[in-house]
């Protein structure tokens, strides 16, 4: 192999590999993850999934042991918190039953078809991204189970993320904490809409469209129509935010899903095509921006079919 005099073989190899890496990055970025890169990823992930399954099987008791140790510390507080939560949930259940009856009556009056339940696929988290910078999880269900790219993923708390790649037997989920993820949300209390952006972990950043509506700590944010079906809990506001006319209204929110310890998830069999919503690769814009008079339109539907829009 030709090399300039004074450069030893390892340095020449290093320079060659660096150049090769840069060429790969360029090709992959130009192909937007498709093409050769996409095919290689699919192939390697398919081949590596059995290795990861075996490693998960072997390491699960070790993880369980360490988790048990850490859980032991807070078990008394957890018990007290759960009792309070049960009492609260019982009260909410009674209220919900009453509201459900009212909704059924109103639906009958308005002759609206009740929204269909979305099909779901239960999956187990097999693996994480190779570094802390990768906010992704690998799940053990793939194309053969009906999963396709863009489907929303939830756990018992709320939205976990979105499927970004699928092989026959597995799928990669990008978490809502990833800095490239943006989710259109609606404040459940006021109906105002905004955008939640990942910050790499921990809290999410919430930016509201209507800067005149204050946010209160504890406000629940649910998905607005668009890439995800409407109404999925996403996060809860952690800091009050005062309205300032002419300025953006920005605050922080904590994910409702327990992302750091997510084990089992559900993939919603839903794609944004089902509501015909616009949206770029990573960015989602809500279908209904707030009205100028401060009110919002109301959408009925979970996204399993076109939502019915009612003027206020």
């Amino acid at each position: 192999m030709w090399r300039p005099s004074g450069i030893d073989r390892s340095t020449a190899t290093f320079i060659g590999l660096v150049l090769l890496s840069l060429v790969l990055v360029t090709i992959d970025l130009r192909a937007s993850g498709e093409g050769l890169g996409g095919t290689l990823r699919d192939g390697v992930q398919t081949a590596f999934t059995p290795v990861q399954k075996a490693a998960t099987f072997v390491t699960r008791p070790v993880v369980g042991f360490f988790e048990g140790l850490s859980d032991l510390v807070g078990i008394r507080d957890e018990n007290r918190r759960l009792r309070l939560q049960v009492a609260d949930l019982e009260r909410q259940l009674a209220e919900t039953e009453s509201l459900q009856r009212r909704v059924e009556e109103l639906e009958q009056i308005l002759a609206i078809e009740p929204p269909e339940e979305l099909d779901t696929v239960a999956a187990r988290v097999l693996a994480t991204g190779p570094s802390d910078f990768d906010a992704i999880r690998l799940i053990d269900k793939g194309r053969r189970d009906g999963i396709t790219v863009d489907m929303p993923v939830i756990d018992e708390g709320g939205l976990v993320g979105r499927v970004v790649a699928v092989t026959e037997t597995s799928a990669r989920v990008r978490l809502i904490t990833d800095p490239t993820m943006r989710v259109a949300v609606q404040v459940e209390r006021t109906g105002e809409t905004g955008i939640l952006t990942g910050r790499g972990g921990g809290l999410l950043q919430l930016e509201m469209f209507n800067t005149q509506a204050a946010l209160i700590e504890g406000d629940l944010l649910v998905t607005a129509d668009g890439r995800f079906p409407a109404g999925i809990p996403v996060a809860r506001v952690t800091e009050d935010a005062e309205a300032e006319v002419g300025f953006s209204l920005v605050t922080r929110a904590a994910p409702e899903a327990e992302l750091s310890r997510v084990d089992y998830v559900k993939v919603l069999v839903f794609t944004s095509d089902q509501v015909g919503a616009p949206g770029s690769e990573e960015e989602e814009e809500p279908v209904q921006p707030p009205l100028e008079n401060g009110g919002t339109e109301t959408t009925v539907g979970t996204g399993s079919g076109p939502g019915t829009t009612l003027s206020p």
Binding site: R9, S10, T13, F14, L17, V18, L20, S21, L22, V23, L24, V25, I27, D28, L29, G33, G37, L40, R41, V44, Q45, F48, V51, Q52, A54, A55, T56, T59, V62, V63, F66, E67, V125, L126, A127, T128, G129, P130, S131, D132, F133, D134, I136, R137, L138, V164, A165, R172, R174, P179, T180, R199, G200, G201, G202, L203, S260, R261, V262, D263
Partner: protein, 169 residues
């Protein structure tokens, strides 16, 4: 013999990547996990020949790239650089704890910083991450903690019998 050691190194790397992506799904003290593949790359580069070390570093990085959603070649570039730095410095990277521990910390931290910087240049928004410093610092600290558990067994498996690290291909 040389190829046997390289094959063992490749097997170790695959094991490291499998453990890194599965063991730390839920086990993440303070929201971070060790950079195990990086530590194993560093460990095997202390003993393999110069060119095999670089090739193992490149292949490990490529495997990480293929298992993530980042641009193909980012980790390959970083881990090739880690292997090159280790190959150049390994005469000083001997089993002297006072040099080895800071060395592992510095190489790990610098590699993760390089990844964050390159990721941002290539549109991954890694520096937009609110926890970017923590995600560079904690894995480097965890790598230091794991050093006594990882480096000696690898030295025993692929180190030159009774010799110093650093034989050339």
């Amino acid at each position: 013999m040389k190829w046997r050691r390289t094959a063992v190194a490749v097997a170790l790397v695959i094991l490291g990547v499998a453990l890194q992506t599965t063991l730390f799904v839920r086990l993440r003290p303070f929201g971070a996990s060790p950079a195990l593949a990086l530590l194993i790359t560093l460990a095997v580069s202390r003993h393999l020949g110069r060119v095999p070390s670089l090739l193992v570093g490149f292949s490990t990085g490529l495997l990480l790239d293929l298992l993530s959603e980042t641009a193909l070649g980012l980790w390959a570039l970083v881990l090739t650089t880690v292997a090159f730095a280790t190959v150049r410095l390994r005469r000083r990277f001997e089993d002297d704890v006072t040099l080895l521990i800071p060395g592992v910390f510095l190489v790990s931290f610098a590699a993760l910083a390089m990844y964050a910087l390159l990721g941002t240049i290539f549109g991954e928004q890694t520096l937009a991450d609110a926890q970017v410093v923590r995600k560079m610092l904690l894995p480097a600290v965890y790598n230091v903690i794991l050093t006594p558990l990882v480096l000696p067994p690898i030295t025993r498996l692929i180190g030159e019998r009774g010799g110093r690290p650093g034989w050339n291909l």
